[in-house]
Symmetry: C2
Subunit: 301 residues, 2 copies
Amino acid sequence: MLAIKVDSIVEEIEMGLYRDPYLIGWMTVTAPASDLGAVGAKPLGILIAETLAGDSDGHFISELQRGIKEAGETYGMPILGGDTNFSRSMQMTGCALGIISGGKLMTRRGCKPGDHIYSSGCLGLGSAYALLAYSDMANAKHLNYRPLARLKEGELLRGFASACMDTSDGFLATLDQLMRLNGTGFDVSTPPDQTVHKAALDLACSSGIPSWLMLCGPHGEFELVFTIPPQRDDEFLKAARSICWAPLYLGRVIETCNIMLDTGGGAMRVPSGAVRNLFSEVGGDVKRYISALLEIHATRR
Amino acid sequence: MLAIKVDSIVEEIEMGLYRDPYLIGWMTVTAPASDLGAVGAKPLGILIAETLAGDSDGHFISELQRGIKEAGETYGMPILGGDTNFSRSMQMTGCALGIISGGKLMTRRGCKPGDHIYSSGCLGLGSAYALLAYSDMANAKHLNYRPLARLKEGELLRGFASACMDTSDGFLATLDQLMRLNGTGFDVSTPPDQTVHKAALDLACSSGIPSWLMLCGPHGEFELVFTIPPQRDDEFLKAARSICWAPLYLGRVIETCNIMLDTGGGAMRVPSGAVRNLFSEVGGDVKRYISALLEIHATRR
């Protein structure tokens, strides 16, 4: 079966979140590749539609192409075709193809109460990068934000996971979406000091904001969040070890449609629908966004 | 074999050439579908990446979706997936999939001197639409510019054509590209009153410009231009009739790398490389563009 995913990088460029042309190229491949990972497809290749700003110089374009090329090589995804256009607004679109050969499909639906929740790696680097990039791009570069699409992990997961989705829009938006699609809730009991990426923890600490807020932002890190039925858990973890992968245990699927999160000082029911839309509701104003998140944090009992 | 093509509608929107949301939706599907036609692929479906302007209203968006939906239904191409983003610049990308089952491939390369040149239908409606749209959009609408991707014709052609390409960038750019790729020239001996679309002929007449200039513009009509080896000609024309299709005979492939065109008063060697880039060289200024074309016309012996 053919899997095909299209993904555009638009707002990230327009809002100045991605300025480094290498990163833009890298993400043009990584974003749709990550979608292939989330359905456990084996990558075949990618097509790229580039809309370049008329004033892009040669260095910018060669760095952009280098980002595309190196990501394609990393994932084993040759560039199969493309289209180039010019506009006042740069935009990039990747259309990734993969093959799902035999076995059952892995989708965003199918988890049941009692299933274990995992992520493929630490979370929150997307939020940390965005938080820094909007205030201090020079420092944001030191984070080395360069997500890796979780392709080999996704292929393995297809034999085990009851539901899977990538955190391209941030961890909390991912859980919120899975909750809506599955009619189940999620109790994330692992505390943030174990789930949040080290660099994001450091940034939260130096910025004086609670670390769990790094799980809330709408810019993600392209990890996979997935659920495993408890009876498959041992077998899954053994298979993961065999590819030198240590998934991060987060908690359990629950019956009630709530997102419960260990916020570092006890569990909290997080209003994920509201949090998910907060950044656009404050018009992309980072200060107002942080204030609004801190207000939500203050409601914690 | 899988055929997959990505195509973006960017400049046409930004320059105001496409304003009707239905037409934008229609073209988002038609442009990559036409690329499938040019390789003789049987369509499977399409993915759409939409970047909407933040201020698009409900009517605009529903007309856009109607254009996408009706084109998809026309071509038998279900919408398989997509992505939606927002920007100050609207842009649309379609990624079309098709199947080429057995037989030889049809590409832009392979024509030989002596091959007959055809187009799938009348030419120049793309130029006529653009010429009107840049000066008088209300009148441009009366042209009913709504190209049809030539999918069933492309499937038939795969058994006959030695080279094939669509006129998405206009007829002359298509010939110029085929000339570069094949190392052959083209002698288009059929006069413009038989090759140029009726509406484009009328517009040329009322604007006082020679009709053959309607073959020169960089905005096309999505016909197929293709070549048939003379020994296959009878069989090809019989097959075309069987699907109620009357291809338009244009002339012959020649050895020297020239584009010879009957301009309505004798043959002319057209500087296709220069003509192809003329519109961007005059910065998209329609008046200067027409003047420059008329200067080229004046060099006719």
